[in-house]
Subunit: 197 residues, 4 copies
């Protein structure tokens, strides 16, 4: 029974969606395969046709989660007109808060990365990509928003991008961890620090 690879990919996503839902609700390691099987409305055997095992699902979900994060970063930097740095952080933060990838999962996956090499590699890879993307954004912003010259911009952009990544990660962390956390309470401060136009 030959099936299209679209079909296979759709099944993988169906399983991944179920896993994501269960992982965020119960915790990655408190979610059993039985939980995923039930939530996906598939059978045990079918899951194992599409994934080699639970570890592969975890790795896939981790990559999906990181992709989601990176997609928001990229969407934010390409917004027109270009947002100011503080607006960009707000934008990313608020989009992640409402994304179909629960932000609680991000922290869990970071925790997983500590002892799981495959997940760790994915976390590093996404981190580098985000840093690169924000570096380019910072160069552009310094040129047009702050009126700096290209050499100056290139020199200062890495540190600025690093700061922005840090603030984004910190917002995600606090958003998922702190009950009643107000994302906005950092925004005003960031505006005065980052948006020197």
């Amino acid at each position: 029974m030959k099936v299209s690879s679209e079909y296979m990919q759709a099944k993988r996503d169906q399983i991944a969606r179920a896993a994501i839902e269960q992982f965020s609700r119960r915790g990655i390691h408190l979610t059993s395969m039985a939980n995923i099987i039930e939530a996906s409305e598939l059978s045990a055997g079918t899951i194992y046709i599409h994934f080699k095992g639970k570890n592969e699902i975890i790795a896939y979900v981790a990559r999906t989660t990181f992709s989601g994060l990176f997609a928001e970063v990229e969407a934010a930097v390409t917004t027109e007109p270009p947002p100011r740095p503080s607006e960009l952080i707000d934008l990313i933060t608020s989009r992640i808060a409402t994304a179909d990838i629960p932000s609680g999962l991000l922290i869990q996956v970071w925790g997983e990365a500590v002892s799981n090499q495959e997940v760790r590699r994915a976390a590093n890879s996404v981190y580098e990509q985000a840093l690169d993307t924000l570096r380019e954004y910072c160069v552009a912003w310094m040129l047009s928003g702050e009126g700096k010259g290209l050499p100056t911009a290139r020199r200062e952009a890495p540190a600025r991008a690093h700061l922005m990544v840090s603030l984004i990660y910190a917002q995600i962390l606090q958003m998922s961890l702190i009950d009643g956390y107000d994302t906005g309470s950092l925004s005003a401060e960031l505006a005065t620090l980052l948006d020197r136009s």
Copy 2:
């Protein structure tokens, strides 16, 4: 064979130390009770005399880990002479990097907090304490380091403290997560942003 409560506390710590070591190495949920039993050099029964079960160990380790984090924050703000804000973040970060509580455990525990109410409460509680402590530090710094008046300091301190907590958490996250991460690469930037003396 009556023993003192110090003895009992020492046993708890012996077990907790073993758990911390195993949790950081293997991951919290990939550590079995058997792993903790072996690492603690105690018997299964003894563990269960001192802890109700694995969940209680996790919660205790989480609280210990958070206490360790808070202890570094407090040690840093009481350093003499008072460090500048960027120095304070450096100080906390570097102390955590070398503390007996592995920083990888902190991230895992944050991940655990997503689905474990008890751990979550502890995470929130430590966060509030750290914020309070940093707020006081910021007021003091603005008065003496920036020459601001008390009303101004009081008004601006919360946002500044929030920013500092965010940066500390972000540093911990990157330190544990990003291979070859250079803590110092953020320091210079922070100095220009935070230390307006």
Copy 3:
């Protein structure tokens, strides 16, 4: 690998048979799941597909045991030609002695009923059924065997049925408990007391 519900029921019975055998030999609570697993020639996991746990097995075995007892009562009262009361007790007693449900298990299950609500309910339910069945038998016997009128029969049957249940239970008890017990030694006496035809 979809299977019929008859197949599932057959598995339950296979497990129950193994449990019954082990329970009678070792005692209910001295039988471990490992004993049942081995005797059933199934795996641990399979047992737990078919029963929620040991308690469910105990309850199922209790119900099975009581059903077996009631089946003998019912078989005896419908014997043709209708046996005299003392013959009926003999019949039930001797059938139970040779039934595939060991009579020792009955006593154990009665003991279990003291502290196990589910088993207790089953014991009460079977008792009531047996009493009802014997009451009908007594009415019929008084009408045809003793030549009494219907009102008299109806009035006297409950006490007679109660007496018969008591004697049946007492025989089972002594049969399982007393080494070298001779069931017959009560029969003659019962004949003179009960069979007033």
Copy 4:
């Protein structure tokens, strides 16, 4: 530290009382040594000074329970003036119902006797004693109550005693097992059958 044997016996009884209470409430095998230790207000070590282990406690409790039963039988047959047979059964039944040995424990101990040789021997021994005592009572009753001659009485007493034991055991069984059981509902019937004075 030499102590009197009265002291030792008192400790044994203290432990046995705790065990009896726990056994009747929880079931013999669902009672842990820890339960007995707590209920007896002694320590684990002390229990093991006075009993070799749990099995010895069970055996001791079983013997105590059977002794209690036999004591009621004996008390009843020596009542003055001599009770009629049906009164005797009533008397024994009602005394057991209010004795400090819970009747539920009797059934459990009978259940235990199925797979525990020591308890079984005790059960048999008490049964024989009760039978002997009731045989003597029956002889006496037939002589004085029914006006029979000694040879007749001696010939008929065994069967009568057997019947009485059976009825006593049956009453205990139903009393402990059947919710809302009315002991009296058998009494009237027994009066007409047994008290042919």
